[in-house]
Symmetry: C2
Subunit: 210 residues, 2 copies
Amino acid sequence: MSIVDAAAGVFCREGFAGANIDLIAAEAGVSRQTVYNHHRDKEKLFIAVVRDLTERCNAGIFATIATFPDQPGDLEADLIAFAVRLNQNCICNRDGKFLRKLIQTEGERYPELFAEWREQGPGRTWPAIAARFARLAYGGHLTIDDPDVAARQFLGLVNAELQTTFMLGGTPSEDEVVQSATSGVRTFLRAFGKRPSPTSVKRHTALANA
Amino acid sequence: MSIVDAAAGVFCREGFAGANIDLIAAEAGVSRQTVYNHHRDKEKLFIAVVRDLTERCNAGIFATIATFPDQPGDLEADLIAFAVRLNQNCICNRDGKFLRKLIQTEGERYPELFAEWREQGPGRTWPAIAARFARLAYGGHLTIDDPDVAARQFLGLVNAELQTTFMLGGTPSEDEVVQSATSGVRTFLRAFGKRPSPTSVKRHTALANA
DNA sequence: ACAAATTTAGACACTCTTGTCCAAATCGTC
DNA sequence: GACGATTTGGACAAGAGTGTCTAAATTTGT
């Protein structure tokens, strides 16, 4: 395991102040001196860790966004599968857990560093997801006013059941992820889905609602 | 300011390991020795802080749940107002912010302590909110399958726009809270609200949906 | 005003951690 | 096998923090 990987784990478990360079070195399987050779001091090492996690997580998220259903066959099933992928590959995996925890615990101590994350992360991924929803709406598969809002609500819904687990730093089971995604997508489609018109493909109807 | 209050602030800012008893004493306006007189050691003090926050937050949440709209005049406006109250009085206030941060940062270090919180907090408040939604559904104002799921989705929706701010430990502005609650409730009602039947009061229709 | 309880300031021992230094060992490459 | 670069382990100084102790000061109740 690389030094940065080991450091990520220790920083997450112990926090910045509690993290011990000896322990990081031991978990990385190198001597303490090597840690200091590669990264001048504890703070530089921490910054390297966050940058590394941000990059890897972003890559994963964009790769997953690329699998967003464009020409849905069964929209419900496709969205559920997408939500599950997003959770399993980007949010519940090691990198996602670590990055989330570091942001929560040390975000206030390094405003510039995490402002960077905010721009590169949510600032780029949310619009990307919103664009995919806009495309579905344009194609007549959804009825959406504001794609940005819809995208954030989609994420809020499919993670609604996992909040407590996330808070405590736990990893939800595959079952829980599927459960939450399923009920989340169902609600999402009740709000934004087209009303049952199984035949028409190109009609771009807006359903008045009150 | 009491010792426990000062300790809450310092533990939140610095984390458990980084918190300094001298600093806590100074912010509380007492001598270090007094801190040790009241709370045997750092860990006992930390536990006292979490217990205190949990109690106060729970009290606030239940007080706010008591204002849940039972006989809604304008359901949308009533739910938005409720969501805003919940956020302002229980989640965005000092206690809420502190408790959330302590759970996120130290949750894994004190499993029993935070298991207690989980039982007393989400374990009791979520069902309470679900019960209020069930009542609205029973009264014919909403169409809900599973009130527990609906309650969690309601919370996920009205907070959907505030996630990033929460993550970084910030406090959303009143405007942001209202914005998020408004679009969240609108979506919630699109999914669970009764379809436009402005006259009938007691008809308990279930709308098939695909 | 007096006695008991509490608080205070400071000194103190102890532990832990960071970051540096250096000589010996190990590794990679030719 | 030899040479340069890297790694290693250990010692080390400096600083910071915890928790204890004590004698003096202050508060509290009566």
